[in-house]
Symmetry: C3
Subunit: 273 residues, 3 copies
Amino acid sequence: MLQQCLENVRKNAPLIHNITNYVTVNDVANILLACGGSPIMADDQEEVEEITSICGGLNINIGTLNHNTIFSMILAGKKSNELGHKVVLDPVGAGASKLRTETALRLMREVKFDVIRGNISEIKTLANGSGNTNGVDANIADVVTEENLEETIAFVKAFAKRVGSIIAITGAIDLVSDGDTCYAIRNGRKEMGRITGTGCQLSGMMTAYLVANPESILEAATASICAMGLAGEIAYNRMQEGDGNSTYRNRIIDAIYNMTAEELASAAKIERR
Amino acid sequence: MLQQCLENVRKNAPLIHNITNYVTVNDVANILLACGGSPIMADDQEEVEEITSICGGLNINIGTLNHNTIFSMILAGKKSNELGHKVVLDPVGAGASKLRTETALRLMREVKFDVIRGNISEIKTLANGSGNTNGVDANIADVVTEENLEETIAFVKAFAKRVGSIIAITGAIDLVSDGDTCYAIRNGRKEMGRITGTGCQLSGMMTAYLVANPESILEAATASICAMGLAGEIAYNRMQEGDGNSTYRNRIIDAIYNMTAEELASAAKIERR
Amino acid sequence: MLQQCLENVRKNAPLIHNITNYVTVNDVANILLACGGSPIMADDQEEVEEITSICGGLNINIGTLNHNTIFSMILAGKKSNELGHKVVLDPVGAGASKLRTETALRLMREVKFDVIRGNISEIKTLANGSGNTNGVDANIADVVTEENLEETIAFVKAFAKRVGSIIAITGAIDLVSDGDTCYAIRNGRKEMGRITGTGCQLSGMMTAYLVANPESILEAATASICAMGLAGEIAYNRMQEGDGNSTYRNRIIDAIYNMTAEELASAAKIERR
C-alpha cells in the first residue's frame, strides 16, 4: 500500500496549489518537487480560482494569515470542492489568536477538507471551538504519549467522524483517522521540532499523495506521514559533527528526494487501531 | 567576452532592486550576493521609485502577484526607464491565469524591458497574447529540442524584434536573442528543474550582469545564462550519495560564488545562430 | 556572564513574535530554534496584539515594509510595551527611502525599544533624522574601523543616552551601548556580508537573549552579538573546497545550534569601553 502511494506520486507528478505562509513556503515548494509533485503558489483573489482549476489539489495553510488571503482561501477552497479536487487544511497556530481559530473554523464550515493536519493543540482547538496553543507549537500538556494514546485515538476518531474529514495529528506519535480506522505512526525524530516548517512541508506533500491516490486517501495520508518521519530518520543518520538544524532541514528534503517505495514500505512503523 | 562580463559584475557590485515573489526571494538575494552583486527587495508603492533610483537595475518577477505589487511594478519600471536603468521581466506562470498573462502584457506595454526571460510556455503566451502553461513549468509539448530548434530560433528572433527587448527562453536548450543574433546555450542539467526558483535566481543574476555590462547586454544576458547552467553542472558533480534537491540548491549558489571568469569562458557551450 | 546568557535562552526557550521581512524570515525562524528559542510570525492587524501577548518578546524588522504591516508594528509594539515585554527594532534600509526612515523614526516615537540594532549607516540615519544608505548595506564611508572607533563609541553612547534604548551597531567591529557602557566586539568574519540576512537573524536571536535575561539586557545583547560572530567563525572553519555563501548560511545556523556556553565564553572578543 505505502509503496504504491509513493510510486503514484512519482508517476502522476500532481500539480499542487498552495496558499501558504511566507515563512516556510520555499521548503514547501522544494519538498513537493522532491517527492515528485509540482508546486504553484498563488494567493490573489483574482487568480486563485483559475490557478486551482489547473491543479489537482489545494493546500491551505494559515501560518501567516492576512485579510486578503483569507478570502482567497475560501474562493479557492470552494472552487476545488466544485471540481472534486483534494483539499488539505493546515491550521497553523489555531488557538494562538482569535483570527486563526475563527478563520480555521470558518474554512471548515465553508470548504470541505479531505484532510485537516495539525499538532494536537491545534486540532483540540478546532474540536473545542476555542483553545490555547503555545504559539505554533503544541502545548506540553497536550502531547500524545503512550499513556494517553487510547484516549487520543478515541478523540481523533470522534472528531473525524463529526467533521467528515480525515484528521491527522502529528507529533511524537502521529495519528490519522477517517473516523473508523486510525493509524498510529511512530516514525520521525524529536529533532524535527527544531526545524521550522516540517509540519507545513508535510501538509504540502500530503496533498500530492492524496491527489495521486484518490481512491485510498486515508492510506495516502498515512504514507505521506510515514515518508516525512522516515526522512527525518534518514536525514538524522547522515548528520555529521557540527551539523545542526539548518543542515538537517536540507537533508530531510534530500531524503524525500531519494526515498524509494521499498525503503518506505520496509521502514514504516504503522499500527492500525 | 564571457570572462569580461563576469569580472565586471564582481568589479562593479551592482545594486539590484527586486520586486519578486515570496517563494524564492531568499535564493534570489543569495545568488545576487554570490555573483558579486547586492540585492534590495522593496515592493510598497510609496518607496519603489525611490529605491529603484538608488539601484542600477530592476528585476520584476510576477511569481506571487497581488494587486498592491502590480502597481508597484509599474511605478518602479517607469522610473527605471526614465533613469535609463536596466530592467528585466520574469513572467512566472504567464498563461496559468488571466491575471498573470494580462499583468505581464500590461507591464510590457507600460515598461520598456531590456530582457524578458521565461520558459518556452511563458514566452509563447506573451507572443500569442494568451496561453496555457502547466503551472509554473513549461508544457511538455512546448519543450525546445534539437528537432524544433530551427523553428524556435526563428520564433525567438521574430518576437524579440517585434517587442524590442532581448528575449531569453531557458530550458534544456537556452535561447537568447535581440532579434538579429541568437545564442543557443547547452549548459545546465535537467535536475535543475527539481529545484524551485532556478529561473527566478537567473533573472536576478541576469539583471546584475546587464547593469555591469551596459554596452553589451546581449552578451551579458548570455553570460549569465551560461553561468547558471555551468553552476548546475559544477554543483551536480559535487553531489554525494544521499544528496537531493535541497543540497543541490545550496551547491548551485555556492558554485556561482566560487566561479572564476576563466572557468566560465572555458566551460560555456554557446552556439551563435 | 556570556555563559549564563546563553544557558538562560536554552533553559527558558522564549517565544518570540517576529514582524519581519519575507526575504530572510525562514532563516530568522531557524536561528531562533537553533539558539533555543521558539519563533512565531504574525503581521495582520487583527491578531498582532494577541500574538504578542502570548510571547515574551517582539522583533520588528522593516526589511520589506508595506502599509498594512506598519500599523501592525505599532499595535504590537505598544501592546508589548504595556506588558513589559522586550522589544527590538531592526531598521533595515533606513536611509534608503523616506518610507523606511520615517517609519523607523515613527516607531521610535510610538514604541519604547529595548534595543535598536542596525548597520552604521542605518543608525546614523536614525540619529540624524535622515540619511543615505547603500541599499541595505552600510556605506563604505561609514564603516567602523580602529581609526574612527573612539569617535564612533562616543556617537553610540550619546545616541543611546538620547533615545533611552540600547544601540547596537554591527559590522567589522560591533558596538553596543546603553549610554554609559559600550562593548566593542571583534568576533565574526567579513564573509558574513555575502549572505543575506545575518543582521536579521541576529535581531531575532537577540530578542530571545533579552527575554531570557531580563535583568541584564546590555550583557544579553552583547552575548547574542558574540554568539553570531563566533558562529560565523566556526562555520567558516568548517567550509570545504567548493562551498560558498549558501552553505555558509546553513553552517552559521548549525553553529548556533551546537554552540556551548563554554565555547562562547572562551572565544568571545569583547572590550569594555
